[in-house]
Amino acid sequence: MVLSMDRWVGKVAIVTGASSGIGAAVADALVEKGLIVLGVARRSECIEERAKQLSDKKGKLHAIKADLTKEEDILTVFKWAKENLGPVHILINNAGIVAYTNLTEGKTEDWKTVFDLNVLGLSIATREAVKIMKENKINGHIVHVNSILGHQVHNYPGLSVYPASKFAVTALTETLRQEFNHQGLKIKITSVSPGLVETEGTTLNPSLTPERKVFMQKLPILKGEDIANGIVYALSTPEHVQIHELTIRPL
């Protein structure tokens, strides 16, 4: 096997939405592999807690407080990383939300938040990461945490604009890949699309309605670490191999 995380050891990775769920699992996995990881979240104290527990690992976990629906916050994150840790090599666009509402009666604010985070925040963070990678001639890797709902609208009621936001991520993945090609950049982009994962966005969401809770408990489910493993696999491929899409479902 030619898979290896060796070339990323000691390098800087930024993981958004690192306070819980998939983001936390990925951040922790990368620290174990020896990377310098900057975990970004509004609840940065959650990341700081885990950083203490991971203090004996090969890598290191740093926390920074940011609201990824605000461009100024995203710019601050990248500036801080550049000045304190070094140029970013890996960006994991994991921060995302589901607004359990609908299209026919929903509030604009709820819809706006979903697009601001899942699409715009992802695009801004990506642009900033690529800027740094270009300046430093880094053949980096960007991972968009997408969803199976970014490829097909399954019959789950009350998801409103979430599938649309993830369809956008699917399109952004290929658009970005083509841009990299046109510019002759050897940066990689991967879309990882999970099915149902146990996170605070789903089964661990404290504000789930009883009906939704019952509905979800009947379904097969993945853990954050299953997605983290998929992401580490994608990152460990040789420089000429681009994992374009990795769709992971619970059996």
């Binding site: 096997m1 898979l3 998929g230 990795l246 769709t247 059996l251």
Partner: protein, 257 residues
């Protein structure tokens, strides 16, 4: 990491199209992982050579002469495996062809060959594997080697029915997943879709010999190695029992199609 090939050690895997390219690379990595591998191919002597080369490995490779376009051959192949190695746990449908023709002026026999191997042969082998897994209560894993052409029609004037055959594989992946769910079976199905890989796919129908223009196009594109796809298949197989990698699309960096 909970990624491990351990639970497949000593188990039986069937790989079609094992004589060259992606199939051969997969056979090699499965043997290294300690499996009993039956390589199906028309050129079984190539698989025998591979078996000799891998004789020191933890697993073992057996060559089985099978023409995937013939149902009889497939049934005989599966029977041989069951009788001599045991019930199959992993099936990798890697046999596939691309024929030098087109749609507007094309050769029916060539079209038929592509569908017989890429679609029907894959379905027959899959059915036989599932039959055995059901009978032996094996939570097995089936991998379809698909293509990027199974998701988007590439810009290539001689693609003819190849993308259509691979679109069929994409649909068959999800159809099978739903069927397995309905039957309450814990068998996994994965589609691995590579971009251009250095294999014998093009040589097999004399593309570059007949058409210098094609040769020129093919020499300008970036390629993956067969072992890159074998790595992907091993990752997929090594996931825990509750995790199903549904689709894994692997491109060479800089792919333009």
């Amino acid at each position: 990491m909970v990624i491990s090939m351990d639970r497949w050690k000593g188990k039986v895997a069937i790989v079609t199209g094992a004589s060259a390219g992606i199939g051969a690379a997969i056979v090699e990595q499965l043997a290294e992982a300690g499996l009993q591998v039956a390589g199906f191919a028309r050129r079984s002597e190539r698989v025998e050579e591979l078996a000799k080369k891998l004789s020191g490995k933890k697993g073992k490779v057996h060559a089985v002469k099978v023409d995937i376009s013939k149902e009889d051959d497939i049934l005989k192949g599966f029977k041989w495996v069951t009788d001599n190695l045991g019930p199959v746990s992993i099936l990798v449908n890697s046999a596939g062809v691309l024929q030098n023709t087109n749609l507007t002026d094309g050769d029916t026999e060539k079209w038929k060959k592509v569908f017989d191997i890429n679609v029907l042969g894959l379905c027959i082998a899959t059915r036989e594997a599932v039959k055995i897994m059901k009978a032996n209560k094996i939570d097995g894993h089936i991998v379809h080697i698909n293509s990027v052409a199974g998701h988007k029609v590439p810009h290539f004037e001689k693609a003819n029915v190849y993308p259509a055959s691979k679109y069929a594989v994409t649909a068959l992946t999800e159809t099978l997943r739903q069927e397995l769910n309905h039957l309450g079976l814990k068998i996994k199905i994965t589609s691995v879709s590579p971009g251009a890989v250095t294999t014998e796919l093009m040589e097999a129908d004399n593309w570059t010999k007949d058409d210098p223009k094609v040769k020129e196009i093919m020499s300008k594109v970036p390629y993956l190695k067969a072992e890159d796809i074998a790595d992907s298949v091993l990752y997929v197989l090594a996931t825990p029992p509750h995790v199903q990698v549904h689709e894994l699309t692997v491109k060479p960096v800089g792919e333009s199609v």
